[in-house]
Symmetry: C2
Subunit: 214 residues, 2 copies
């Protein structure tokens, strides 16, 4: 309707992509314009303002990651394997093109005020996807709406932070990281045996291994 194939726009987005891949987000409009061989006003004609350009840029790449996560969430596997598949999908994505996914996951915090910016738009979409999947697939009783939404956000933030660290430190292969995160989600932290409590405290704190069931 508005635009069947706007090739110039695609060219400009390609240029923006190149410079963002090179300089990360925070690339200046001047730099992008120069990379495209033109000057700023043309960019503004096409995208309105900087956020418009970056929105177009992110939407371009979001679809791929989002579709991958969505399909992983719908895979007819046993639950643990499905979760591992989702984790692996995300980590594979950020591993393949770090700069691009940095753009998707770490937006410009320039907006004026209002809390709730921990998750970039692309990640909020992923969180919604997880929420939907949990709602549809898991029986959580009367608290289901609250739990699924909170968990969607929580899991997304967890994978974001852990994935960022993993990408930075590369402390282990991807599969191991997937296992570590799935283990956490599976309550391994809760169920693991306590250590001999070398607390300088009096001996009152004898803990016992507590099973995951509340």
């Amino acid at each position: 309707m508005t635009a069947l194939e706007e090739p110039r726009r695609e060219q400009l987005l390609n240029a923006a992509d190149r410079v963002v891949s090179r300089e990360g987000p925070g690339a200046s409009m001047n730099a992008i314009a120069a990379e495209a061989g033109i000057t700023k006003p043309i960019l503004y004609r096409h995208f309105g303002d900087r956020s418009g350009l970056f929105q177009a840029l992110t939407e371009r790449h979001t679809s791929g990651l989002l579709a991958a996560v969505r399909s992983a969430l719908a895979e007819p596997l046993e639950r643990r394997e499905r979760v591992e598949l989702v984790l692996d999908t995300y980590l594979a994505g950020i591993e393949a093109r770090p700069q691009v996914y940095r753009l998707l996951t770490h937006p410009e915090t320039g907006d004026p005020d209002g809390v709730g910016n921990a998750l970039a738009p692309a990640l909020r979409q992923i969180a919604d996807e997880i929420t939907r999947a949990v709602t549809a697939q898991v029986d959580l009783g009367p608290d289901a709406p609250l739990l699924s939404e909170a968990w969607g956000r929580a899991i997304t933030g967890m994978v974001l932070a852990a994935g960022d660290w993993w990408l930075e430190a590369k402390p282990c292969p991807r599969a191991r990281m997937v296992q570590a995160l799935a283990d956490l989600l599976w309550g391994r932290l809760a169920a693991a045996a306590p250590l001999p409590t070398p607390l300088p405290n009096g001996g009152a704190g004898s803990e016992t291994a507590v099973p995951a069931a509340e």
Copy 2:
């Protein structure tokens, strides 16, 4: 050593605090200087550059939150209750002074490049604290170093994202949110019964309730 009580500096930080509380991070140096009743160069004399000022500002508030989390992590409680206490401590903190904790948790993403910025410095300290506590308190076998560090990051990111959402949407009282997050950490997502799989797929995908034990 270098400075026993620099009262001017404290005054300037108070002014910065006021304007950041009012305008959120991203407050301009001009605005802060004006609030302090002075002009920019003085700020730069005292703090070097903008990041120096904000670093000083965050360190001021970080200590409180960090100490609270640390002491919660060391509390001689049963593990689940200790985790709930930590979660509640964090959520209470961000609830009490949102703008301040927004400053602590959502830094200026202005740095040039390099991934691994999901967690602001203050949060990285919290993540380290969690890592230490897990290492000291839980028996995770030979993978302990990897798991504890990954989990420290993961849990921190989880609580960051979930807390941000909670603060923004306030969908439930704090205690309920704490329960939701602790339940997630306790593997409730993994252990919950599946729903009747209304997949448009052929009937092959009949799942059975799978216990958390791997």
